[in-house]
Symmetry: C2
């Protein structure tokens, strides 16, 4: 990759912080790089703020800076740009964007965490590149910056010397990948085990998304169709059934979906069913055949295929990772369970129109 | 649980920091509690240091404190005691242990992260309780503090008003469980999704452990047996075969194992085979039948059963989470894959003799 000294040698990491920066976006990567030093890595990590003073993070904690941006002299190997809840204000701050550009020019690899991707995009650094961000903001990134090819499901994306990662804790995943590039898989694995995090987590970011709301529409007929799907995802929602229910032609239903919802009726129904199934798995104890039936998938096998295709994990995996902690903690505080076989999901790009 | 105001109301969280505290032990829980405030939680989080001044963490970053320990007036709902690499020095620091006791007395729930469990144990707060800590130190905790019942595989353990969690990032898991107790599963789930972490991760802490070395022994005969197992875990290592190889009786082999290794020959062999299989799955591409054969499990089904019993995950799950990131990143930067079915593992207690 962009490694200057593969295998050995030291690497400098500069983490840029600003008022309101998200705490874990900063400290996750720093923990990874400094822990790597226990296992053969040689990272020199510095925190840079605009004026060299400490900043107050979005969590309210005060975080010291080691240098001001102007004191960052030599080129660094990795520049980390974290995010923050006030990203909409930040991307209007021209001085801040200038700093980001200046730091990026002086770094061999620039990596954003979470909404840090918005800073990179606003600074023009992601033009024509593939990138990701927090699942909640992926659509927003794509529509604000049409030249960025957003991969909404990725935990992290590398495109040339630019790397972007998903929400918050994904900065840890991205940093582990960098450690692997710099010092090899064994060092990276030691860091992951020391921090008690996975080298690769099962599934993409989509499994973390909140269920979508029924889209707004002023078309009364379409509204009725959408509501009937949302109210009872397990019912018969073939194109013919929906058309009959709305009292319009199949072709008209299809066109309404295309114009107002931006997808086909079949895809919309599958999305609603998927989200209903996610809800049942998160909070209920129904066996898989019941979940499949109640959500309109019919069989556990269809349910399984839809989950793997869209979320990268099976319904069982999803249930195991998102059901509530309380249940598992009964008695021992130890709750475990997972059997994993391999599956593969094509990543989907949000093509911003 | 210990919740004063279940469902609503505010909760105060005090995080105790000291020089050399591990960065993510502190910031993981703080990120969870402050993020909960975005979803209906009402946490007031403060960082307390002994003298109220900032501390330098083990990562070298400067972290501000909000109050000194003496300024912590009112009782808090949650006290967080993080760990640090210098825990051996810390537990000899009587003044520090006094502070821990004083803070604990004033809190409704005390929760340690990682080696923070050593501080609680040294302060006498875990006597007669079940607890966990970083997998690397679980045995050490059990032998130094025989009255603590150590659960080495747990991600976190709750025993009365004391909670302890595994290494580093497990502080996030523990904090999510507290959020669930205080404000319900929906709030906790929102926090997990916002931070892009799992509500429950697949498998216990054992899957993160490094492979054990062959135990030291001065018994030449036993040494030969142990070496032959380590050199070729896939060979025939029945009790009879081992006895013949060492030129001693079956009963003698059994007694040597019991006295010198502290377990039965069969358990020892299974452990070595398990660790050999972990190694092959982490770094190789062998199909499961080959892994099973090379490591002496014979069939994929036996391999699977051993993994689920000891690690809480299947071999496929283990491979998916611990193989190197580089491989999966090719092309797209998106690497996913997991199918999970449920399994359950009894937690094992290290009974400190």
């Amino acid at each position: 990759m962009m490694s200057k000294h593969p295998g050995t040698g030291s690497h400098t990491v500069t983490v840029f912080v600003f008022p309101g920066v998200r705490l874990l976006d900063v400290t996750g990567p720093i923990e990874v790089f400094t822990t790597a030093n226990e296992f053969g890595g040689r990272y020199r990590v510095q925190i840079a703020s605009q004026d060299g003073r400490e900043v107050i993070t979005s969590a309210g904690t005060r975080l010291g800076a080691d240098v001001s941006v102007d004191e960052v002299q030599e080129p660094c190997d990795v520049l980390v740009i974290p995010g923050g809840p006030e990203w909409e204000t930040l991307i209007k701050d021209d001085a801040l964007l200038d700093v980001v550009r200046q730091l990026d020019e002086n770094s061999r690899c620039t990596a954003s965490v979470c909404t840090g991707a918005f800073l990179l995009a606003a600074a023009g650094l992601l033009n024509g590149r593939r990138a990701t961000t927090h699942w909640r903001h992926a659509q927003e990134l794509a529509s604000r910056f049409p030249s960025v090819r957003v991969a909404p499901d990725a935990i992290f994306v590398q495109d040339g010397q630019m790397m972007t990662s998903a929400g918050v804790s994904a900065g840890i995943d991205l940093s582990l990948a960098l450690v692997e590039d710099h010092y090899g898989a064994e060092v990276a694995r030691s860091v992951a085990k020391d921090m008690v995090v996975f080298m690769q987590r099962p599934g993409g970011q989509s499994q973390f998304s909140v269920r979508s709301r029924a889209p707004h529409t002023h078309q009364q007929m379409l509204r009725r169709v959408l509501d009937s799907v949302a109210e009872n995802p397990g019912a018969n929602h073939t194109l013919t059934a929906m058309a009959r229910r709305a009292g319009i032609s199949v072709r008209h239903v299809t066109r309404l979906f295309y114009d107002e919802v931006g997808t086909t009726p079949a895809r919309y129904v599958e999305q609603v069913r998927l989200e209903a199934a996610q809800g049942l798995l998160e909070t209920g104890d129904d066996p898989m055949p019941v979940v499949a039936r109640r959500t309109g998938f019919g069989s556990p096998e269809s349910l399984r295929r839809a989950f793997v295709r869209h979320l990268g994990v099976t319904p069982g995996a999803f249930r195991a990772t998102f059901r509530t902690a309380g249940r598992g903690r009964e008695g021992s505080g130890v709750h475990v369970g997972a059997v994993v076989v391999e599956a593969r999901v094509d990543d989907e790009e949000l093509s911003a129109a």
